[in-house]
């Protein structure tokens, strides 16, 4: 202990001495340094409401707060985030209990090399094999704690190597994650060959492996599990085509009920865009592709990879909150098409001031599986085909029109038709699939440069689940900085009379 202390004291004295010796240099160095910080505090007060099933919250007040600090100086930066959940706001993962610093890092970048120690967020491609990410608003944070190296070997070639353990609330998962990624921009690497070419090609490949000891008495589990990913992006003029494929060796886990089947995922995306027109078409198939650094975990915990949902992320309250979709990790086939078009001024549909239309269609189905007998297949679980799909999980067709009527009035009109498999998405066995129609008008009236009124009128109709809903929002804004809003959500179609309340 005392030896250790001596070592640090010595190192510190050396550091200070070297600073004093170069006082001028030091001053110059410090003058380039900067500290940035921000603080966020959110608190809510709760009241019991027996009708809508809102239980009494014993603490009455709950709050989340964060303090971020980042120091940077030339190529060096270091930072931390202090988090406090006393206790966490309702709806936030309950695992966040207490205070502490679970995010701190130091990183140094010089020329083509960058080194990070501590916590970091990283993503290979779209994340099919690895993505550590934070979304404070949702409490999602699977940051790695370890070491990451990034090196630009040659023009257009970037390598990333990392190792670490993942955050789970105020702790780290027991599994160790190791990853390597290479990213090549062919146009830069072979600049002579591609000179003057309109085609741009990016390629990437990654390998990620996790280690977790096997303490299971029933099965012999693989302690090291590897995944491999490859990706290509080709852009030519206004077209872009993107493909990514990932393969995972056998990974028995709580998610897949401890079967030894390998996993795979394929994502294909094509876009075309020019001024006034944008088109996106995408398809995805994932089969047994949950990949966590602890095979016994569930929910959003300790996920190493990320399977993006190919559905539109809605913003209006009735569309976004009642029936949202998230990728089913065990298996899913999904398609999405998205079109955005601008009708110019002076055209029939465009009128005096033009009009925008956005059309989106998406579907998600189960993969088509055939159950296999475990005794003869070494717990492969099932087999599935690329050329057929299973039951419907989710469908969404929606159209949005944006129109300015005058210099003062602007409207956004949305219609959506949803099919939502409650049984699977919410894990409610036997619950009927919900078919819902939603219509929304969002109208802004500008009184003058500072004052504006905005109203949202939303309606959702369905025969299933809780029946019809309506939402009304009126907002008055005084720019800059001030607004006052009143919002009411009314479940007037609920078959249980006492639940037809104004919220």
């Amino acid at each position: 202990m005392s030896k250790k202390c001596h070592f640090w004291t010595l190192l510190f004295i050396l550091f200070i001495t070297s600073i004093n010796a170069n006082a001028q240099q030091f001053e110059e160095m410090m003058s380039r340094g900067q500290i940035k910080g921000n603080f966020q505090f959110e608190s809510q007060f709760y009241r019991e409401d027996t009708i809508i099933g809102a239980e009494e919250v014993p603490e009455r007040i709950r709050s989340n707060s964060f303090l971020n600090l980042i120091y940077s100086n030339g190529g060096f930066s270091a930072g931390m985030r202090y988090e406090s959940y006393l206790p966490p706001l309702l709806g936030y993962p309950e695992g966040y209990q207490g205070n502490g610093i679970m995010y701190r890092f130091a990183s140094y970048q010089k020329d083509d090399l960058s080194i990070t120690v501590g916590n970091f967020y990283e993503q290979f491609g779209t994340g099919l094999v690895l993505r550590t990410y934070e979304e404070r608003g949702l409490g999602y944070d699977n940051a790695l704690d370890g070491v990451r190296l990034k090196y630009k070997v040659y023009d257009g070639i970037r390598l990333t190597a990392l190792t670490g353990r993942q955050r789970i609330f105020f702790d780290y998962g027991e599994g160790i994650v190791r990853g390597f990624d290479a990213d090549i921009n062919l146009n830069e690497t072979f600049s002579d060959f591609f000179e003057g070419s309109k085609t741009r090609i990016l390629l990437g490949g990654s390998a990620v492996s996790k280690y977790q000891a096997d303490r299971n008495s029933q099965f012999v589990l693989p302690e090291n599990v590897a995944t491999f990913g490859g990706r290509a992006s080709i852009t030519r003029g206004r077209f872009n085509f993107y493909a990514e494929y990932a393969y995972k060796v056998n990974d028995p886990s709580a998610d897949n009920e401890f079967i030894y089947k390998p996993g795979e995922a394929l994502l294909l995306q094509g876009t075309y865009s020019q001024k006034g027109l944008g088109i996106l078409v995408s398809a995805k198939r994932n089969d047994n592709m949950s990949f966590r650094s602890d095979r016994t975990e569930g929910e959003q915990n300790l996920l190493i990879n990320y399977m993006p949902a190919l559905t539109k992320q809605h913003t209006y309250n009735l569309l976004a909150t009642l029936y949202p979709y998230a990728t089913q990790l065990n298996g899913e086939v999904a398609f999405q098409a998205d079109l955005i078009y601008k009708f110019d001024k002076g055209t029939i549909l465009g009128g005096d001031r033009g009009m925008d239309i956005q059309v989106n269609y998406s579907t998600a189905n189960n993969i088509d599986t055939t159950h296999l007998n475990d005794e003869f297949t070494f717990r492969q679980g099932y087999k599935s085909s690329y050329f057929s799909v299973g039951e419907v999980y989710f469908k969404d067709f929606n159209v949005q029109l944006t129109k300015r009527f005058s210099s003062k009035v602007k409207g956004i009109f949305t219609y959506a038709n949803l099919v939502y498999n409650q049984d699977i998405i919410e894990g409610k066995p036997g619950a009927p699939t919900v078919y819902a129609d939603i219509a929304i008008a969002d109208i802004t009236y500008r009184l003058d440069m500072r004052n504006a009124l905005r109203g949202e009128f939303q309606h959702l109709s369905t025969e299933q689940d809780q029946g019809d809903w309506a939402t009304l929002l009126v907002e008055y804004t005084y720019a800059p900085h001030w607004f006052i809003a009143i919002q009411d959500q009314y479940n007037y179609g609920n078959s249980e009379k006492e639940k037809q309340t104004l919220l």
């Binding site: 930066s77 990410y133 944008g278 993006p308 800059p480 900085h481």
Partner: protein, 169 residues
């Protein structure tokens, strides 16, 4: 040991106070719309002001703000030479939608994507929309979180001040 610790704290305070003099755009790797890499330290505008706006395709106040500015952007540019950098924080789920949306709406901004939030964290952004104003010397001089109708007029007043060489308090 005690005195050494004290020295360390002094260093820290020096750094803090100096920090206020120069708040530059931090360096982080983000993506261009064609998927290639771009370093944010290279955001420049020939000594003229820059607006950096964090937004997302799923954020309706962000889109209202950027669509409202788009109607006046040409005039803003003519008058002040300002450049707007629209930094999308869309992640893997939505990043492919950014280019079709931006082109479909006919935006003339410089658009980048920060899918893993590296630039967002470096700038201290917690939620969107979050707007920064950078002066001709590359100093971040003003910021604003959220959007209400009409905020763009205040923003443009500040841009005009900067382009005329005035300071913003």
């Amino acid at each position: 040991m005690k005195s050494l610790f004290f020295t360390a704290i002094l260093c820290f305070i020096t750094a803090t106070s100096i920090a206020q003099q120069a708040d530059k755009i931090p360096s982080a790797d983000v993506n261009k719309l064609d998927g290639t890499s771009f370093n944010t330290a290279d955001i420049k505008n020939d000594g003229k002001p820059i607006i950096i706006n964090f937004w997302a395709t799923w954020c309706s106040p962000c889109k209202r703000e950027l669509n409202n500015i788009a109607e006046m952007y040409e005039m803003w540019q003519e008058e002040t030479g300002v450049k707007l950098v629209a930094m999308s924080i869309d992640d893997a789920r939505n990043m492919a939608k950014v280019a079709p949306y931006v082109n479909g709406k006919g935006w003339e901004y410089d658009v980048y994507i920060d899918p893993n939030g590296d630039f967002k964290r470096a700038m201290g952004v917690n939620n969107v929309p979050h707007t920064f104003l950078v002066d001709g010397e590359g100093n971040i001089v003003w910021q604003h979180n959220s959007y209400v109708e009409g905020d763009e007029y205040e923003l443009f007043e500040l841009v005009k001040k900067l382009s005329e060489g005035e300071k913003i308090d």
